[in-house]
């Protein structure tokens, strides 16, 4: 964990080669698998097998272009915008709930249509949550560590966001932003007993929501034993598990999967991981898990370096992104393997979807920006160890 990654200097920016490799890997594998699992769907819907691959190519292109722009924004700007951004995010969440503005898909209103482009609002809110939390704990560090109020104030705002998300409903995203908030506060030094109570309260609330809403309860129960009702409530999970079993060690081969052919629902979005499992086998599955693990490690490690050079905001941004990506990818993969109840969360940087892809690209761009600024500061600081001097 204390490996040192030799940064690359490109112009006035510093780049983390491993982080770039991981991102490239995830994007590439994701794109190939999205293509593989959507050819039949495009052919059926529009008589054009390349319908989804072309759209996803546009998503990735837009995401990378926007990411390049985001990368050039100095971190202190984000720090300044943090509170306003959060208000903006809440505004989006309200907007999507206004009848006529939000787009309803499968009974949930999660999308805003902007110029024919559908954006899942909760994705944007996740990134905003990271920025807001980072700026909050940077500004009120002592208060977070010493007073209950400092801990509760941001949670109040997050509760509003969660309630709005649950109205869509988007239970998964609500859990993700809460986890981001709690995780960042944990790292910022919140008192453990206070934190423990908070965590317990959040878990109790989540459990209550599950029990109160029969639709969620059914999903939860079905995940515990999908084979009890494999035709109805357990259908998705049974199909996903079959994909894993069929994949064995090395998979049935790229493009040769059967499960994606109308057995797996949402094969190219939420259940992309199952398609990977069937077509690329355990080898592909472990590769993806390792890539996400590396991404998390790089994020936390970059954050740690930011703390060393004293840039608290940069550090918490990196931690937040690490927690977000780690948690969301864990949920998605866990759901695919029947370890967690079914949640509509995408696999970061891999699943099909415009909004998700663009926001995730922006998030990794900010992470890269953190790394670049931290490396720049490290390079300009007095050298503590010879190894740093040789790095540039």
């Amino acid at each position: 964990m204390s490996l040192n990654i030799t940064p690359i200097k490109a112009g006035r920016f510093y780049l983390d080669p491993l982080l770039l490799a991981v991102i490239t890997g995830l994007l590439l594998i994701g794109y190939v698998m999205v293509s593989s699992s959507s050819l039949h769907l495009g052919a059926k819907l529009d008589n054009n097998s390349l319908l989804y691959p072309i759209k996803q190519m546009i998503h990735i292109g837009l995401g990378l272009a926007l990411a390049a722009g985001v990368f050039t924004v100095p971190l202190r700007k984000w720090e300044q915008w943090g509170p306003n951004l959060f208000v903006f995010g809440l505004g989006l969440l309200v907007l999507v709930l206004i009848p006529g503005l939000g787009v309803r898909v499968n009974g949930a209103v999660r999308w805003l249509s902007i110029g024919g482009f559908r954006i899942q609002v909760s994705e944007v809110v996740k990134l905003i949550s990271v920025i807001y939390m980072a700026s909050y704990v940077t500004r009120y560090e002592d208060s977070v560590r010493n007073s209950s109020f400092g801990l509760l104030k941001p949670l109040f705002l997050f509760t509003i966001a969660c309630v709005l998300l649950l109205m869509e409903p988007d239970f998964g995203s609500a859990v993700v932003i809460l986890i981001i908030a709690l995780g960042v506060m944990f790292l910022a030094g919140a008192r453990l007993w206070q934190f423990g109570i908070l965590l317990a309260a959040v878990l109790a609330m989540a459990a209550m929501l599950v029990i109160v809403s029969p639709y969620r309860l059914r999903r939860v129960i079905s995940f515990l034993d999908p084979w009890a009702d494999p035709q109805d409530t357990g259908f998705q999970l049974v199909q996903a598990l079959i994909s894993f079993g069929r994949g064995e060690w090395f998979g049935v081969g790229l493009g040769s999967g059967i499960q994606k052919l109308f057995y797996l629902p949402e094969a190219h979005t939420d259940f992309l991981f199952s398609v990977i499992a069937e077509e690329l086998g355990l080898l592909g599955v472990v590769t993806v898990i390792v890539l996400f693990a590396l991404l998390v490690w790089r994020a936390i490690d970059i954050g740690a370096k930011a703390e060393v050079v004293g840039n608290k905001f940069a550090a918490f941004i990196a931690y937040g992104i690490g927690i977000w990506f780690g948690f969301q990818s864990f949920i998605n993969m866990g759901v695919n393997m029947g370890m967690l109840p079914t949640k509509g969360l995408t696999l970061p940087l891999m699943s099909y979807g415009g909004g998700s892809m663009i926001v995730m690209c922006c998030a990794v761009a900010i992470l890269c920006r953190v790394n670049s600024e931290v490396q720049e500061m490290t390079a300009s600081q007095p050298k503590r160890r010879p190894v740093w001097a040789r790095a540039s």
């Binding site: 499960q259 993969m333 393997m337």
Partner: protein, 579 residues
């Protein structure tokens, strides 16, 4: 970095939180490790169970239809063949997404009533399968396919095609929409023709569409061909002449059977009314009936030769017997009548003039059991055993219940009934020198079941007598065939109905054989209710017999046995002779 952190922990209070960071990182990486363990569990340890569950959902067995065997005539010409066609079915649930315009176009292409397909679209329907149209031309199916309507599917099937159309329709029969024999040979030999459907394992996608073959479970065993004894050329001729006769005489129905006199094979079996098995719609069941085999009638005078033959063979009369007829013959309270008073007749003229009185006198010379025994041996009252669905057996009253008048009427073919096929078969006993042949619809070289009913001498004698029938002064001059000696007998039976025999409703019958010197072919013709004036067997059925017999003999390459009536041949024209 580790060393750096510990040192920092000693210096500053916030080092506490670097531990938290490490705890979080370990926790998250641990969670990722857990995912990998779970993946190993599913993909390696539980793969057997999961793959089996997958196969249960993906793989299923489907049947592979076997090719139905052909029905051939004796020369190998096809009478029924199966050709591949397409059937169209829809999934009404998926059809809901289709454009109404495209469905309308499809209805128009398939010539379906408006909204027939659209009406299948019911919101919330549980139906996933409905045939739209079956067995259509593959070309038409391609046009429908080009419309690309969602929820419309195609299935390959076989359609039965009958190249001979109505000509042999009654005999060959037909299959239903599921390719199962319904009538005729198609029904009788269904098990042979059908073969055994095979099955294969296929993979289906989530919408139950077949996306690939896994393995063949059992190969389909194609049905075997059935080769009939029918000669399509004679069959066509018989059909054509029968149709012409029905039109000319405005008859209700007609039937005709051509038998090979040596083997008992059925060379032709024509009927009217006919139907086209390829396009049968809105037809009454009566059109499907193979009257020659399934319908019985009173054979009338056509049985008279058997009475004479039986009496001669049994020694009850002498060949030179002369019979005083007087035109009427009283038996108890009943009277047998002839059309005219023929006076004194020898046996030849009994048949030539078809005297009911003389035949009755001869019949009453015989004991009832003997007389009945001959009829029974000739196959009257028993099915010919040809294996055709609905084959009639006819009936002859049991001799124990006969009185003298009953015995007399039986001698001129009343009080009994038989089918055209039975009648033709009985004549084989005269044609093949006393040997009665079994009949067969399948091609064969010889008859293993021939049995002697009459002595050869008697049979030859009767044939000689029957030759007189087709002479200029006989009852059936129109039945003669140029170049061949013909022996035959007419019959004109009054039709029985409710309340007795009907006036002016007749059956016109002619049964005969040629060449009379050594008969090859036996033909029986029955015309039901000719209503254009003529109704005598010789006038109505005779010409049909003549034309069909002339054609059959030529087709079978039978040598003429009567040079003087040979049509003039080109080789005998003076020019050629001069050379």
């Amino acid at each position: 970095m580790h060393g750096f952190s510990t040192r920092k922990k000693k210096d500053e209070p916030e080092t506490d939180f670097t531990v938290r960071r490490k705890v979080l990182l370990v926790f998250m990486l641990g969670a990722m490790g857990l995912l990998a363990v779970r993946a190993f569990d599913l993909q390696v340890l539980r793969k057997q169970f999961l793959k089996q569950q997958g196969d249960m959902r993906h793989v299923s067995a489907v049947s592979v239809s076997a090719y139905r065997g052909m029905i051939l005539d004796r020369n190998g010409e096809p009478l029924a063949i199966s050709s591949p066609v397409q059937s169209i079915w829809v999934n009404p649930q998926e059809l809901a997404d289709a454009e109404p315009a495209a469905i309308g176009q499809m209805e128009k292409l398939l010539d379906l009533p408006d909204r027939k397909i659209k009406n299948l679209i019911v919101p919330g329907t549980k139906r996933r399968f409905a045939y739209v149209k079956r067995r259509i031309n593959p070309h038409l199916a391609a046009q429908v396919k080009a419309l690309d309507v969602p929820g419309v599917y195609f299935e390959r099937e076989f359609k039965r095609y009958y190249p001979a159309g109505p000509v042999s329709a009654h005999l060959v029969g037909f299959t239903n929409v599921d390719d199962v024999g319904q009538e005729g040979i198609e029904l009788a030999y269904d098990a042979v023709l059908r073969g055994t459907a095979g099955s294969k394992r296929v993979i289906r996608d989530g919408k139950r569409q077949i996306i690939g073959d896994v393995e063949a479970i059992s190969a389909p065993i194609d049905g075997r061909n059935v080769q009939l004894s029918i000669d399509e050329r004679i069959q066509y001729l018989a059909y054509r002449e029968l149709q012409a006769a029905v039109l000319e005489h405005r008859a209700k129905a007609a039937a005709l059977v051509v038998l090979d006199a040596k083997t008992g094979e059925v060379l032709a079996d024509a009927n009217h009314p006919a139907f086209n098995p390829n396009t049968r719609t809105h037809l009454k069941g009566s059109a499907f009936r193979n009257r020659a085999i399934t319908d019985v009638f009173e054979p009338g005078s056509t049985v008279k030769p058997f009475v004479i033959a039986a009496a001669l063979d049994g020694g009850y009369i002498k060949p030179d017997l002369k019979i005083e007829t007087n035109g009427t013959y009283r038996i108890g309270r009943n009277v047998v009548r002839d059309v005219h008073n023929y006076g004194t007749l020898d046996l030849t003229h009994v048949l030539k003039k078809s005297s009911n009185v003389a035949t009755s006198i001869v019949a009453l010379e015989m004991p009832p059991d003997y007389f009945w025994g001959i009829y029974n041996q000739l196959g009257f009252g028993n099915a010919a055993g040809i294996g055709f669905p609905g084959e009639a057996s006819g009936s002859v009253l049991d001799y124990q219940r006969w009185n003298q008048f009953a015995q007399a009427t039986l001698s001129f073919g009343y009080g009994m009934n038989a089918s055209v096929l039975q009648l033709a078969r009985a004549y084989t006993a005269l044609a093949d020198n006393g040997l009665l042949h079994s009949v067969s619809l399948l091609k064969r070289d010889r008859d293993p079941e021939a049995k002697r009913v009459f002595s050869a001498k008697t049979a030859q004698l009767i044939r000689t007598m029957l030759e007189q029938v087709v002479l200029k002064d006989g009852t059936a001059y129109q039945a003669r065939v140029d170049g061949y000696r013909v022996a035959g007998k007419t019959g004109t039976a009054k039709k029985a109905g409710e309340g007795g025999y009907k006036e002016k409703k007749y059956l016109s019958i002619f049964v005969g054989m040629a060449p009379a010197s050594d008969p090859r072919v036996v033909i029986a013709v029955m015309v039901d209710e000719p209503s254009a004036g003529a109704y005598y067997g010789g006038a109505v059925a005779g010409p049909v017999f003549s034309k069909v017999m002339a054609g059959a003999l030529r087709i079978l390459d039978v040598a003429p046995d009567q040079e003087e009536t040979m049509p003039v041949l080109i080789s005998k024209t003076p020019d050629l002779v001069a050379q």
